[in-house]
């Protein structure tokens, strides 16, 4: 069994509730921090741990924290990004639903370390019931003196609130999230200034993902060095992976960074292999935005080394032959999958979710969806593949926020690795192996799976 840090107590019945959480070591990190550590010491431990942002960007958390401006008399905020919307990603939902106090304890620790007196957890609107679970846990924490005034007699005060979104992928981008939290449309801000200088209400703010904040708890408990001892290279600690698609055991898995991709897909400890004895065709390893890789490149790097589940190994080869760990949204596709149709669902998604602020993204995502729709319905031409390539290249790097890249990369990678399939689809009308797809195109009823 791989090492588990965040989900070590996941199997314990009732771990969602404060009593059980505390009986199993919950809030000991908070007691330790408030009694024996300074805020600066916590920031140091987080730096030592090598923890990187778990939302997708992988930016070192300790460094992000150290950028926070601390002008006199100006409030600071810690905001948790629980707007989990990257297709293929559902780990934060799992964590909040199962062990909400881990997030709350992490929020109190982070707020203490960064000097925030009010903090918010921004949860995507569709996670209504998850927000209620977290709110109930917050109520428990207030009643036990773990939130509010003078927490555990330390003199530290903190109010923690859940803020609910209303359906917008873009609000996972941290400045769009802050706009939304201020009661506005989720249009990303031009940076600089970064939130560390001018974030929520113009005040210095740190925005971190749920999993990142939760990881602060074991880092305080065991020390940053102990956390850094887990993992491989600059990929320290563990990562929650959301595994979905054509696998035998979809779900959330906590892995020690560095597990071979092949082991992750085929071992019974994780995905348990491809469903129905089929062969693997492709994997989107880190949420819809990251480049799709065909079997041979996801299992091994271009140099023939086994590919590992780590920031560095997944990125090996750049975008020519590699991908990214991203949010850990691991979507597996079997041999019958139509890459063209899957890409269409992505293109439709990004078109729907573009905030409309920047022309290349607003117009480009719409064009990409339209062209893919045309191809899917048998009206594509071979020139359309080049046109798709051309459009994606004109979005990347030309927008205020990374949604532009997120929309462009999947299109580029699908064409890069599966160009022949696009051309065959255009010539022959459809992907011949996909029986279910044939049924759908002909409006017949095919059974599920």
């Amino acid at each position: 069994m791989g090492k588990k840090i965040l989900l070590a107590n996941d199997h314990i019945e009732g771990i969602r509730f404060l009593d059980t959480y505390r009986k199993n070591g919950g809030y000991t990190a908070l007691e330790k921090a408030l009694k024996s550590m300074t805020p600066e010491q916590i920031v140091e431990e987080v730096k030592t741990s090598g923890l990187r942002g778990r939302g997708g960007a992988g930016f070192p958390t300790g460094m992000k924290w150290s950028f926070l401006a601390k002008p006199e008399g100006v409030p600071r905020y810690v905001v948790c990004n629980a707007d989990e919307s990257e297709p293929g990603t559902f780990k934060d939902r799992y964590l909040m639903e199962r062990i909400p106090h881990l997030l709350i304890e992490g929020m109190i620790l982070s707020s203490f370390a960064l000097g925030a007196k009010t903090s918010y957890i921004y949860i995507r609107g569709e996670y209504f019931y998850v927000a209620r679970i977290v709110e109930q846990a917050i109520e428990e924490a207030y009643a036990a003196g773990l939130l509010g005034k003078n927490i555990l007699n330390s003199g530290f005060d903190l109010d923690l609130y859940v803020q609910i979104g209303a359906g917008a992928y873009i609000c996972g981008e941290e400045t769009a999230l802050l706009e939304s939290l201020e009661g506005k449309r989720g249009n990303p801000r031009i940076k600089p200034p970064f939130p560390a200088i001018a974030g929520l209400y113009g005040c210095p703010t740190v925005v971190n993902n749920v999993e990142t904040i939760a990881a602060v708890v074991p880092i305080v408990n065991e020390g940053g060095a102990a956390y850094a001892a887990v993992g491989i290279g600059n990929s320290k600690g563990t990562k929650l992976i959301s595994a979905s698609g054509h696998i035998n055991k979809p779900g959330v898995y906590e892995i020690e960074l560095g597990v071979p991709v092949e082991e992750f897909i085929y071992s019974d400890e994780y995905c348990g292999g491809i469903r129905n004895g089929k062969k693997l065709k492709a994997v989107v390893a880190g949420g819809s935005s990251v480049p799709i890789l065909p079997t041979e490149l996801i299992l091994n790097t271009a140099a023939g080394e086994p590919r590992l589940m780590s920031y560095e190994s997944l990125a090996d080869g750049g975008f020519a032959t590699g991908t990214m760990l991203g949010s850990g949204g691991f979507i597996v596709m079997d041999e019958d999958t139509s890459i063209v149709k899957n890409l269409y669902t992505f293109a439709r998604f990004y078109h729907h979710e573009s905030c409309g602020q920047c022309s290349p993204c607003r117009e480009g995502t719409g064009w990409m969806e339209k062209i893919l729709h045309k191809i899917l319905h048998g009206h594509g031409t071979l020139a359309d593949v080049d046109l798709l390539w051309d459009i994606q290249s004109k979005i990347e790097g030309k927008t205020i926020c990374p949604l532009g890249e997120a929309a462009a990369w999947p299109v580029a990678a699908a064409i890069r690795h599966f160009r022949k399939e696009f051309e065959d689809f255009i010539r022959n009308g459809e992907h011949v192996n996909d029986v279910k797809h044939y049924y759908r195109l002909n409006n017949l009823t095919a059974p599920i799976n």
Partner: protein, 181 residues
Amino acid sequence: MSEKTILKFSDETAAIAKKIVARYPEGRHKSALIPLLHLAQAEFDGWLSVPAMDCVAEFLSIQPIEAYEVASFYSMFNLKPVGKCTLEVCRTSSCWLSGAEDVVRHIEKKLGIKEGQTTADGMFTLKTVECLGSCGTAPMLQCGGDYYENLTLEKTDNLLEALRAEGKARVYTNDNPVNID
């Protein structure tokens, strides 16, 4: 005409709204806009009419346009009437790989409506939506505050029957406790 209608929160909802406004620093009450629009949608028949948005703007002492521009940005806010139960089937990658389209076609056939339409009795609206973060339990749909996962055609049939019997979708915008296994 509906433009002249004036809507007001019930006392119960107004009390919840006041508690929400208290979460933000002085002068930052506009932060409550999205939570309050959710409350309004739940209270006023599942959609945000102009009077419903005006009610929220009035409550927060902001200009009505500030409520309209936000309501029109976020996909969860319905700017047109919907049925008592809105079935929102996830259509993005993992759900598609697991048969989401079959679920949509099945519901369309069963209810005699197309995606985006509402049944004549006003009971169901069928929508397809983007990734709901339920990829490991695909295919799935959301109705009100609840996720229905690992759908099969049979489970979908049972769900439709159960919702019809219940007569409405459950929402969690207020202080309902959540009890899930």
